[in-house]
């Protein structure tokens, strides 16, 4: 074993480590390890399922936020009525820049 490949305490060779990694010498040890590994497999599978469920949940939430964001942005800057394409703007960095392009509330006055 090359010592320069060690990355953590787990990689330090010990008597117990060598013992665990070696092929079971008898049936009793093989059955014990089989049971332990089956439990570990089941635990890792549960962990994987949990991560995947969390990923799906986060993706759904992200989609909802993006839809809501598009709705709010449309309220702040309605599309041009003449059908001309609207210039895509970079995300504004300050309140002052947002204020510059915002619409105003109009009150109609007949004279």
């Amino acid at each position: 074993m090359k010592t320069n490949q060690m990355r953590s305490m787990r990689d330090i060779p010990t008597i117990q480590g060598l013992h665990n990694r070696s092929v079971p010498a008898n049936r009793e040890k093989a059955v014990t390890e089989l049971a332990r590994l089956e439990h570990e497999q089941a635990r890792l599978q549960r962990e994987l399922d949990m991560w995947q469920a969390n990923q799906r949940k986060t993706e759904r939430r992200l989609q909802q936020v993006q839809e809501r964001l598009a709705l709010v942005q449309a309220v702040l800057s309605p599309p041009d009525t003449d059908g001309s394409p609207r210039r895509t703007e970079a995300r504004r960095s300050s309140e002052e820049e947002v204020r510059r392009d915002r619409p105003w509330q109009e009150v109609k006055l007949e004279y």
């Binding site: 309140e95 947002v98 204020r99 915002r102 105003w104 509330q105 109009e106 109609k108 006055l109 004279y111």
Partner: protein
């Protein structure tokens, strides 16, 4: 989120002008509009000056409408201060922080910050709206000082430390239209020379007979020939000089509208028509107990005018 909430509360309100269906645009009005637009497009502020009832405010609204930009309307007032034009510190924003991040340390902060709220001039300068300052000489001259830099240097100077931007560069589309009545003596001030010097003043007089007839007919619904009789009575009274308050186009419209609504005709033989004319036009003459004889003569003259035009 905080920015979005703040913006929703601060969306400026502007006027969008359009002429009424019965708006009369005579050649004189068209010419005045053309001249005013030429000055405004060159970047100068325009000032319509003339006696009451000559259509200054309507013309200012019309010209502003022709510019095609939203407008804000300010009416001059004796009580006006600079803050009524530019804005001021209104209300408080409170912030309280209790920090117990480390259980043995209590950090407690509380502060109240006054909030700046823009008023109409600031909004107009920032957004490039058209400012219509009606009867601006009713405001005290010092209240209008802030307009000097706006009109000349195109810079709105706000009070120091009251706003995060103390100097606002005036929007290139910003335009200003002023109106005033030089004959008014109640509740008006002299305009300071510095401000008058920055304005292109267009003097306005009473409209011609045909225009007054057209406006009276359009605003009352009376046929033009009926409206003409009323206009002639008012114009003759005005040219006689026998009044204390000049009878204007408004008097024509008042008489004509009541006559139209009551279903009457402009006839001297109808006592109801005569009484409407007397009610509206007699008030143009001062009511004094000492000059009963003069008042009787004025009344007689008014009745003879009604008889002459509507007999």
């Amino acid at each position: 989120m905080a920015v979005a909430e703040k913006l929703a509360a601060e969306v400026p309100v502007a006027l969008s002008m359009r002429p009424r269906p019965d708006f009369v645009e005579s050649p004189t009005i068209r010419e005045l509009t053309r001249r005013a637009l030429a000055y405004l497009q060159a970047g100068f502020a325009v000032h319509f000056r003339g006696p009451a009832g000559t259509g200054k405010t309507t013309l200012a609204l019309h010209v502003a409408g022709q510019l095609g930009r939203p407008a804000v309307l300010i009416c001059g007032d004796e009580e006006f201060a600079t803050s009524d034009l530019i804005g001021g510190q209104f209300g408080y924003h409170y912030r309280k922080v209790v920090d117990r991040f480390i259980h043995s340390v209590l950090k407690y902060e509380e502060d109240a910050i006054q909030q700046w709220v823009d008023n109409r001039l600031t909004t107009a300068c920032r957004e490039g709206f058209t400012l219509i300052y009606d009867e601006f000489t009713r405001s005290r001259p010092e209240a209008n000082n802030v307009l000097l830099a706006v009109l000349e240097e195109r810079l709105l100077v706000l009070p120091t430390a009251s706003h995060k931007h103390n100097y606002i560069k005036v929007h290139p589309e910003f335009r200003a239209i002023f109106t005033s009545n030089p004959q008014e003596y109640a509740g008006v001030h002299e305009a300071q020379d510095a401000l008058s010097d920055r304005l292109v003043t267009i003097d306005m007089g009473y409209h011609g007979r045909e225009t007054e007839i057209a406006i009276t007919a359009a605003r009352s619904g009376l046929p033009p020939e009926e409206a003409a009789k009323i206009v002639d009575i008012v114009r003759d009274l005005r040219s006689s000089g026998e009044y204390d308050q000049a009878p204007t186009l408004r008097a024509c419209i008042m008489i004509a509208r009541v006559v139209a609504m009551q279903g009457l005709r402009a006839s001297a033989r109808d006592p109801r028509f005569a009484s409407i004319c007397m009610d509206i036009l007699e008030s143009k003459m001062a009511f004094t107990t000492q000059a009963q004889e003069r008042r009787a003569q004025q009344r007689k003259m008014l009745l003879s005018l009604i008889e002459h035009h509507c007999g």
